[in-house]
Assembly symmetry: C2
Homo-oligomer: 429 residues x 2
């Protein structure tokens, strides 16, 4: 971790422990105020992964916050995305560059990690529109659809330094699953042949090469960089996106695909969580509906047919990606200058082409994220929590085969509805 | 020019005039030595454009060099590309960051600008293989086929600062020709309707948007950035690429397309230069052959069928793009890891896919470069030197129609031979 080491050597950096953390908070009015000044009986919980991040939840009688260290790009992306989408990004109270320290909102209970909610079978009726809102705003406003080339390249240069995190992603998403790699694992012995088949699939390898190059080369927008269902905290009313430590300028489809792909994983895991009390059939339908709505709300297609179907669909009308584009088409955005795209029909055609390309990118990256969670190093709790290995393998195999087919055939899909039909067609042995 | 202004304000910068230039050379051993120490009777010619660059040719009895000021990215790219391809990039003798000054080789007569040679009807039998060599090496060795992500992103971040030059390109290549812009011009009144048709061509505008986004977003390799036939100095034996002041990390096809597109412009201009002494028919065939060979030598396809056809085709065998790829496939390149692309058949498929995509990018960018030279601000001497405006317009119209068709249909071409046939089909009224 050369970057982290360099950061440590910055003047003024010292890793905090609980005692020095309290002293730091006392000396920092922006943080002390969030705890209501009640600093003598703080409860401090260390919740970091013991590796890259020091993470503390700090509670007083009168308030709460989270402190993270070693998190420059996370802080930077949080602040940027929070400015663009305050409803779904937690507030940063304080950032200390020299200490690589952020003090931020503690996302309090009853918020839970979305992935856990999906495993428990909880419906989140606002999830699709909240996430569409988040993705539309963070991606659109950090792209050349909204920014001048000068501003865009400034951002690109800044986040080039987060290269260690990008390298990690490259390895675990785009490389290891397609080769014999030390830390790859799968539900053995059931999926051994399936994992071997991935390593021998020439067509899949040609597709993943294209996505890998796009991931590294294409600075389309400032991404969250790790937008799976473990990076989202939810209640039925609230959706908060956290942990953008992998933030970088990359292809938009990587964020969108991460979210949709992890929902598809959740879908295929449901049979493993079904029991006599709940066969999960209705819940599976809700997941598919959420996948479909997320893309449709984001892309703003099909809004007309959905208007009035429910109280939650209308607000999207003004925040979806294409709506933002229309609203800001006369701004500083470099990509589509009004004197060139000078009729509403031409602009509509350009938008359709752009969104189709984004759709196919999202499907590609989404399926790559699915594959790596089944045959790569890091698995997901959706499947891991299925105790019966044979049953787990069966769920995983369906997801894997579905993902392989999407990755190879993604350019044939014309709508998210077709993808949903495709997903369902793999939902059997 | 905010970047240039900032550069001027750097400590130590002062613009040189002839007197202070001589003093600078006397105080700089690396430069004085190149003039054989004969500094008392220097001949100095100011050959800059009076705008961005101060350029001086300095001659003594015993040597020569060129001094340029305001050229940080040019110096940086020259040094990088010279290291990769010393045969076709002039040597940098001295670089002074604070003064934004480079001292470099004076490309001596009988070298002339290639564009002038093409207008005069001079054949350069080594041009195709020299340029294929230059493009293969500079592009391959600055891409993820050869470099780690870490090194690649360092380079990307560095050249993000050359944004002013990128913005200029965006405007004159990808924007102005497709809208009413103040400085657009064409051979009026003959081409007025043709220029208007470009501004009303929805299909063309959708394609140019895709290329423009790729130009800004896709950091595939360190490009020359302005590789037209005016940036190349030639003799029958020597090919030297100069003036990379637009250098940045962009799509490889932009450099390749610039070169090929300008050769196609030269082709269509020939009828305007024909006279009773020389109908230029043989020369036109040579240009087409040079276009075809340049791509084939670069991509290394068809080498087998060409082997032994002439003394100049063999050396290419070891320097073309795919040969470099094969030679360095076990190096640090991040894009195609050997444990994944683990059979020669699979690697060949990956290379074919990569080169096909590069071919289509090159055709797209090449045709965009042609269009802008006919209906945009900056025209080419190939056409401008045709005095009869009606004849000039006729040549330009063929080139324009050819370029429009390539831009729209580029993905249908499977070989450069098909492109040549296509070009010839437009060579009539």
């Amino acid at each position: 971790m050369a970057a982290a080491a360099a950061e440590q050597q910055q003047q003024g950096f010292r890793p905090l422990d609980e005692a020095s953390l309290v002293a730091y908070i006392k000396a920092t009015p922006a943080l002390a105020a969030r705890l209501g000044g009640r600093l003598d009986a703080l409860t401090i919980k260390e919740v970091g992964d013991g590796n890259l991040n020091f993470v503390y939840i700090v509670l007083s009688d009168a308030g709460s916050l989270v402190i993270k260290q070693r998190a420059y790009f996370e802080a930077s992306a949080l602040q940027k995305h929070r400015g663009l989408c305050p409803d779904h990004v937690p507030e940063v109270y304080h950032f200390d560059r020299a200490m690589s320290l952020i003090g931020m909102r503690y996302i309090e209970p009853p918020h839970i990690i979305l992935r856990k909610g999906l495993i428990a079978g909880v419906e989140y009726p606002l999830l699709a529109e909240h996430m569409a809102d988040y993705m539309a705003k963070t991606l659109f406003f950090t792209s050349l659809l909204y920014n001048s080339t000068t501003d865009h390249k400034k951002g690109v240069a800044q986040y080039c330094d987060n290269v260690e995190m990008c390298r990690l992603t490259e390895q675990v998403v785009f490389s290891d699953p397609y080769m014999l790699a030390k830390y790859n694992r799968c539900t053995s012995p059931f999926l051994d042949n399936d994992a071997a088949a991935v390593r021998e699939d020439a067509e899949l390898k040609l597709e993943i090469a294209e996505l890998k190059s796009m991931f590294i080369e294409r600075a389309q927008a400032l991404l969250h960089g790790d937008l799976h269902t473990g990076s989202i905290m939810v209640t039925p009313d609230s959706t908060q996106v956290i942990d953008p430590e992998f933030a970088f300028y990359g292809p938009m489809g990587y964020d969108i695909g991460a979210f949709l792909g992890n929902l598809i994983l959740a879908y295929f895991s449901q049979d493993g969580h079904a029991d006599q009390a709940n066969d999960r059939k209705a819940y599976k339908k809700w997941i598919l509906k959420t996948i479909e709505d997320s893309w449709n709300f984001l892309s703003n297609y099909g809004i007309n047919t959905k208007m009035g179907m429910g109280k939650h669909t209308c607000p999207l009308y003004t925040t979806a990606f294409v709506e933002l584009w229309n609203k800001h088409k006369d701004g500083n955005g470099e990509a589509y200058l009004p004197p060139i795209y000078n009729s509403s029909e031409l602009l509509r055609l350009a938008q359709k082409k752009y969104m189709t390309s984004l759709f196919h990118d999202s499907l590609g990256f989404g399926s790559a994220k699915m594959i790596r969670r089944i045959v790569g190093i890091a698995h997901v709790e959706d499947f891991e929590s299925i105790e019966d290995a044979s049953k787990r393998a069966s769920c995983e195999r369906r997801a894997l085969n579905c993902a392989k087919a999407i990755l190879k055939g993604r350019r044939q899909f014309e709508s998210i509805g077709q993808v949903i039909v495709h997903v369902q067609s793999f939902d059997r042995d």
